[in-house]
Amino acid sequence: MEHEATQLEKQHVHSVYENTAAYFSDLQTKAWPRVRNFLLEQKPGSLVVDIGCGTGKYLSVNSQVYNLGCDYCEGLVEIARKKGDEVLVCDNLNLPFRDQCFNAVISIGVIHHFSTKQRRIKAIKEMARILTPGGQIMIYVWAMEQKNRRFEKQDVFVPWNKALCSRHFSESNQSGDKGEFVHTAKGQDIHSAQLVISECSYQNNLQPDFKQSETDSKHSRNMDHCLPRACCMKISEEENRFYSALGRSFRSWFFSRSLDESALRKQSDKMKHLKHEGVWASSTVPIQHSRHCSLDLGHHGALLNEQSLDDDDDVFVESLSLKKPQWSPATDALKDFSLNGGHQSVAQSKRDKASFINGPVEDRDCTCGCNKDGDGKSDASKLFKRTSTTDSTDSALDSAVSVGDPTDAMLDAKAFMRYYHVFREGELSSLVEENVPELQILSSCYDHGNWCIIAERRG
């Protein structure tokens, strides 16, 4: 299990960040307001460490404290170093620090990359170990519950679109989680790259004083208006073509079988039911089309009309029917792009496994959100059964990859899929309460598609 976990993380966390680090070099980055505030509240002369610092965007927030950053990814650490930050390369699971030496620790968008519960616990325990009694830790992880949607499963692969992250971007902001590129909402001045929206990074362009950040209510939701803003962009011809080339499969999620789950499955082998198995197999494969801000959806995600999808979507149906999104008026130009382009590129795939995508595509009038449509559902389940018989269920990775089509762009997505374990409401708190007694939770909240907790080292 441990070996599987490290292999999964090596392939779908570490090597992705390492390979894409170069694309971060000339980006402007912004810090999440709550994290900034947490850092600014630390007393002058404090020792503060950012575990999983990436390019170091939090390392210059508070100059009155000693900021140290560390990350597993050398490429990202290099970038931080060039900015003059004090950084090192290390492993969250084995922090090279003496006990109880830091006044504050931040872990922003990091532990959701650990593929088993035990590793996530170990990461938190390590961070607790290096905290001085009374010291505080802030942890941010991606939430399963996103603004209007939920991830269907907690263990997902998020495609990384290298093509959209090239260096000619004039300006973009990086969101709270490394690797997302954000639109700066500049109206006319838009590069295709900026259309790749991931996080609700639009908020980064709004004032930092969100009312929400002042309320520590667990259910504080961001009443953001980022999507309408995004929808008002004009897209150029060039960008149309650019997007056509990408294919829809870019903006999909791939579900991974949770390594925790797979361990449980082995144990309950004697009790398997065929029916259950069918469902299970299908769940290793599906592509969830999600338009959530905090997910690496790219432009497509951001432009979907919010009202067009219900919360109880059957995501498999939705994605496979490849519905045309209902664009806001200003973006009519996009209607013709990629979805059809994407179909074609997928249809041309010689891979058997991709063929199931063609099934529902033909002749379907793509309307978003008709998820309560019975036909849709049964098509999807048919598809999945078909898929599950052709796919090997040996590894979630194989399944996910097999869905793809071998164009360049798709290869990038396949090559750079990042693994995430997204957290349910309360999961992070429970994880700490039940497994890390040395920490006492002070507060928890929902922020920009993340669950956030602040905890204090007891003692």
């Binding site: 490290t6 007393k43 002058p44 002369g45 404090s46 020792l47 009155q64 000693y66 140290l68 597993y72 050398e74 650490v77 290099e78 170093r81 004090e86 950084v87 090192l88 390369v89 290390c90 492993d91 084995n94 922090l95 090279p96 620090f97 003496r98 030496c101 830091f102 001085t132």
Partner: protein, 124 residues
């Protein structure tokens, strides 16, 4: 890598006796000194967090005569000269190239371009 950072680092090679990983021995191939604005209050607050002996040892291993007393004397908070010397050692001296050696296991961790790499290999 600044000496303040070094003071916080401990080897985590598996199987060490408690405390056996600290302090890491610095083998410096390239050292740089770069001015950093002095902030007396900041430096003063750092003092209780430091492992003093390790700090002195580190400063000496860089070939710098130890400008630090064997331990901080009472009233150090108001002793600007002391604080300035401490500031210099902690924040202005950087190891750019070299390695850090675990005292107990002998395992070396490289420092390159100012960045120490404390990752263990998979089989460790």
């Amino acid at each position: 890598m600044k000496l303040l950072t070094h003071n916080l680092l401990s080897s985590h090679v598996p199987g060490l006796r408690p405390g056996g990983g600290f302090p890491l021995r610095i083998e410096a191939a390239e050292v740089r000194v770069r001015p950093v604005p002095f902030n007396a209050a900041f430096v003063s607050r750092l003092v209780p967090r430091l492992r003093w002996d390790a700090l002195r040892e580190a400063a000496e291993s860089l070939g710098r005569p130890s400008e630090l007393p064997p331990e901080p004397s009472p009233g150090y908070e108001a002793d600007e000269e002391f604080l300035r010397r401490l500031h210099h050692v902690l924040l202005e001296v950087e190891v750019l190239e070299g390695s850090l050696q675990c005292p107990d296991s002998g395992r070396r961790f490289p420092i390159s371009r100012g960045v120490p790499n404390l990752l263990l290999s998979e089989d460790e």
